[in-house]
């Protein structure tokens, strides 16, 4: 599993479908989500080029720094999420075990900093099920590809579950019922992130 290829695939997926995220944010937020995310990923690409990271931890450090350099609310939260991946994955080859530890720490960090829980219609609705799927895969000694496939599927289900929710946190919480029927773009980004791992 090549971590850098995973991130490059993630950036490509956001390029391809970024307008979809902006449209979701326009319907349920303030419409700048896709733009901010694309800015962050431009920075990710620049960091990968300049830092030339060779280990999973170093790759995620480059990604984290790029997101922490981005404004708004979701940018820094993603920055701290990726930062936990950087800390948890370190210099070793990716494994279901290391991913499970990193993803669990990462979702806990985002919940603590952002104050959102599952059911609040945010990125957390995809992060938590993905971490649980990785943990389940690690417990049955699954290989890393299978673990990431499970995570992608769980994150996708979690992201789609936000469609019928009323937002309790984040931008969509300001627009109330208007956001019902709209998938949370942050949660969808998380689903696409894991999907990118399976396609990389």
């Amino acid at each position: 599993m090549d971590t850098r290829a995973w991130i490059e695939r993630f950036a490509a997926v956001i390029d391809e479908r970024g307008t979809q995220l902006t449209e979701l944010d326009r319907l349920a937020g303030d419409g700048d989500y896709g733009t901010n995310l694309r800015l962050a990923l431009a920075k990710v690409r620049a960091n990968l080029y300049l830092d030339d990271p060779r280990t999973p931890g170093a790759v995620f450090t480059s990604v984290s720094n790029a997101f922490l350099h981005t404004g708004g609310t979701s940018g820094p939260l993603f920055g701290m999420w990726f930062r936990e991946f950087a800390k948890g994955l370190g210099d070793e080859e990716l494994s279901a075990r290391s991913l499970s530890v990193a993803a669990t720490e990462a979702e806990a960090t985002v919940r603590r900093l952002g104050g959102a829980e599952v059911g609040h219609k945010t990125m957390v609705d995809a992060m938590v099920p993905a971490a649980r799927a990785l943990t389940a895969a690690a417990e049955r000694n699954a290989d890393v590809e299978t673990a990431l496939k499970d995570a992608a599927q769980a994150a996708q289900v979690g992201a789609l579950s936000t469609e019928e929710m009323l937002a309790k946190r984040g931008r969509a919480s300001y627009v109330g019922e208007h956001a019902r029927g709209v998938v949370d773009p942050g949660a969808l980004t998380v689903a696409w992130f894991f999907e990118a791992a399976t396609a990389a």
Partner: protein, 332 residues
């Protein structure tokens, strides 16, 4: 488009303004461009104070960097929080090994980005404490889970008084505790006669019909909590002040520091009239104004209007208020 602002390019607006500020006060401040923050030209061995937030509230916060106040200020884009990365860099630049107090106005983006920066700085081995400023009564008593009272003009008192204590050699814990005490003793109310206009835009953030004022506004050009017909200043000042007096439980014999603050394009003469009416009103209650600050310090771009902040004061707070300060926007 109606030309009402001196703007080259809205994208360069904040950077160019900060370059200008440095050129006015090279003896007091240094502007670091990427990531953007302003630090004292000369730092001393003491607890460092760092604040910041969206731009558009000048002179807050960059105008309050200097002796006896802030060690660094972190400006975001207009009305947008600075990034966690910017704040972390400013904390690193301000720290002199005695720890850093972050002074944060209560807005979702600021709270989140400063919280993240505080964690990153702690990982860098820097001792960090945070004071959250939430003085705006207009957003008090919201439902559970809402952001709560916004942070507005009381932040000037927190920066001034904590800055003086830090200059006197107080520890990080002492300065943080002092900040908490100021926040719990200060409340603010504001009104607008006209909305503000974003740099490069030609439409104000909201329309206000002739003869009406917006009551309970914040400092981001957002709507207030109510609209009412214009009335003489003495009535408006009484209506702004009554809820503050009630919230602080002020009574005969109490002393306060009063901040009469212009929101951007309110003339000094008007603010003096507001202060006159505030003095008369408080006299009537037997509450004494120990010190007053009257001028435009926490603005909302070019909003027309004012805010009134009262801070319950004692000898200690008054002495720290009187301590010398030398910053671009506040000097005595």
């Amino acid at each position: 488009m109606a030309v009402r602002q001196l703007v080259n390019d809205p994208d360069d607006f904040v950077r160019e303004a900060l370059e200008g500020l440095q050129r006015v006060h090279p003896d007091l401040i240094r502007y670091h461009e990427d990531p953007a923050y302003v630090v004292r030209a000369q730092q001393s061995d003491k607890v460092a104070l760092v604040s910041g937030g969206g731009s558009g509230h000048e002179p807050l916060h960059t105008g309050f960097v200097g002796t006896g106040m802030l060690d660094a200020a972190v400006p975001g884009a207009v009305f947008a929080s600075p990034t966690a990365y910017q704040i972390r860099a400013a904390i690193g630049a301000a720290d002199r090994g005695r720890g850093v107090l972050l002074i944060v106005k209560n807005y979702t983006g600021d709270v989140l980005n400063f919280r993240i920066a505080a964690e990153l700085a702690a990982e860098d081995g820097i001792q960090v404490r945070t004071v959250l400023v939430d003085d705006d009564l207009a957003t008090d008593g919201q439902e559970d889970g809402a952001p709560g009272r916004r942070g507005t003009a009381a932040v000037v008192a927190v920066e001034k008084i904590c800055g003086a204590a830090a200059e006197n050699g107080a520890s990080l814990d002492e300065v943080a505790a002092l900040g908490e005490r100021i926040v719990s003793s200060a409340r603010t109310m504001a009104l607008a006669l006209a909305a503000c206009t974003q740099p490069g835009q030609d439409k104000p953030s909201f329309d206000l019909p002739d003869g009406e004022i917006e009551f309970g506004v914040g400092i981001h050009g957002e709507h207030g909590i109510g609209r009412r017909p214009y009335a003489p200043v003495r009535e408006l000042v009484a209506d702004l002040t009554k809820p503050i007096v009630a919230a602080l439980g002020l009574d005969r014999g109490d002393r306060v520091i009063a901040i009469v603050n212009g929101l951007g394009s309110t003339h000094g003469l008007e603010l003096s009239v507001v202060h006159r009416e505030l003095s008369v009103f408080l006299d009537g209650l037997g509450v004494r104004i120990g010190r007053a600050l009257v001028g435009s310090y926490v603005t909302a771009l070019d909003m027309r209007g004012c805010s009134i902040t009262l801070l319950r004061a004692d000898d200690e707070l008054l002495a720290l208020w009187d301590s010398p300060v030398a910053t671009p926007a506040l000097t005595w």
